[in-house]
Symmetry: C2
Subunit: 328 residues, 2 copies
């Protein structure tokens, strides 16, 4: 059965070698105040310290660094709500490859500006009326460039999975007996990669996806056994997680490996962002705070062992962040 999955733990190990010394080995942090609040030992994998402020650089670099020969000069095309955009742009810059990114016109300004600052060309689209996949595919075909999808790609999934390898190594170094891992989930690439690494090395650890309540397609798909979609008019402040359905590569992995899918409300996300500001001193973007929100609000299944939460990124506009931390 596992032979039908898009990647194996060896692919994650290969990705770890590819990004070694290039991506940041982000810290796994522990706070007494968080443990007390959550009623369990919590380890925070802080991907805000990754290049471009989110985990996305890992998969992007693992994908782009393997493009060899003549096709390299034609560069890459990607679509992204903002974090994959920056990850691809940063990897392309390091590898001296041109990059074109298709982004929604309503992406956070900080994500647009950072992507431009990294030298990528940006093409905007309307999330409600246009198909980013078709737009990106057309651009790639015209330029002879390689299409780098945000999650539905074996090298991308394997690259994101390096987060899981590091969690295992760092939890062990911290003498933490790991019981479960909570992963922010949009299209499911990070979740699938992390689950692949964790379950291959430490099968007794439970891995859960965490989604915004309005975008709980993975949670519902895990229950029904098939890929479900969200309603057309779904909305959430978690701009990084607005994926309408699980990927056809990521879902089989997540169905095989996850113990379940959790969901949090936007209000719970905001409370987690405030908690991180006040107590953890970490800037977390809405989509990066869903796993923390789950453990803070008692939504994670009980365990006497340690729970690792992935904080996937910190790219949030200052005005929006200010409104969240000052809300009473």
């Amino acid at each position: 059965m596992s032979s039908r999955l898009a990647i194996s733990a060896d692919d994650v190990r290969s990705a770890a070698k590819m990004i070694a010394g290039i991506a940041v080995r982000t810290p796994l942090l522990e706070y007494a105040t968080l443990n007390e609040q959550a009623g369990r030992r919590v380890l925070v994998k802080f991907e805000g310290a990754q290049h471009t402020g989110s985990f996305k650089f890992r998969g992007a670099y693992n994908r782009l660094a393997r493009i060899q020969g003549a096709v390299r000069a034609a560069g890459v095309v990607a679509w992204s709500s903002g974090n994959h955009a920056q990850g691809v742009a940063a990897a392309a810059k390091l590898l001296s490859m041109p990059a074109t990114i298709v982004m929604p016109s309503d992406a956070p300004a900080i994500k647009k500006l950072n992507t431009m600052a990294l030298g990528a060309e940006i093409v905007f689209y309307d999330r409600r009326t246009e198909s980013r996949e078709e737009l990106a595919a057309a651009l790639a075909a015209r330029q002879g460039a390689i299409l780098v999808p945000p999650f539905n790609d074996p090298l991308i999934i394997a690259g994101q999975g390096t987060v899981g390898l590091e969690i295992l190594e760092q939890a062990s170094a911290a003498n933490a007996d790991l019981g479960q891992v909570l992963v922010c989930c949009g299209g499911g690439g990070l979740t699938a990669g992390v689950a692949t690494a964790i379950k291959a090395i430490h099968p007794s650890v439970d891995v859960y996806s965490v989604e915004p309540a309005a975008f709980d397609d993975t949670a519902r798909s895990l229950m029904s056994g098939q890929r479900e979609t969200v309603s057309k008019d779904a909305a959430s402040i978690c701009d990084a997680l607005l994926s309408p359905s699980p990927g056809d590569m990521t879902f089989p992995i997540n169905r095989a490996l996850l113990s379940g899918g959790l969901a949090v409300t936007d209000e719970q996300v905001k409370a987690a962002m405030r908690f991180a500001f006040e107590k953890l001193k970490l800037v977390i973007e809405p989509g990066g705070a869903v796993a923390l929100a789950a453990v803070l609000h008692g939504l994670a299944p009980p365990t006497r062992l340690a729970t690792a939460v992935v904080v996937s990124g910190g790219n949030v506009d200052p005005e929006f962040y200010a409104s969240i931390i000052t809300a009473r």
Copy 2:
């Protein structure tokens, strides 16, 4: 000559043993964006991840844990602008000792609330008209309690010095060849402790204090060779660093060991806080950002080696933080 200094590197090593497994071994972080901006390799010692959100727990625990016997029940009295208050309160709580803290009435609300939440009794005073030292001494005498000063105490200085030990170990683990260390400086306890550890183990590393321009008493004292004071009406947003003159225990250490004193304006501090929000994803309070500000604004002496900057804390009121990150 060094025999006349209040502490030695052995005192810092002893403090490291005392706080091992109790204080947080905070991460030493590196960011490509910061290296690029600063034009050098920069390592960020992030004490926002320490218990109570600043380095102060280190010295407080090292001091309080050594109080034995009957006097322990009478507890401790401390004065503080807020971070030492929380550090002492947290250490006292862990050690089941009563704590009374003398705080300025205009301390940030987050520092007052956190200190109260840790179970300490707070006595407020007016920074402009009352002497906190006299107030605290009178309280301690009345209660038979031990006075725990914020910096002018060998065990406090040694405890804060553990930051320096960790920087050396973590820089070495990161294969960084350390050339200089920049330390936020109020009364000089953290600076003196860090300098003691660094210069004993790695004498070629230059250690600099960094102060708010209006509270540059240590910088001027280093130049004149005697303890200088700031003007009575000096003001700065760096509430943690509003010390009017160097301590009589900390200054001899800093005079013997520092390579110089730097100073930054409040505007440079705000820019560093914004940079940390946007690029580092770290919440830094004004006083915690002065060393980062110095390296970001080209105020640190040139070096081809790595520069470590201590980010000493992250306790800042949300409304004030919001105003800083949204300023244009």
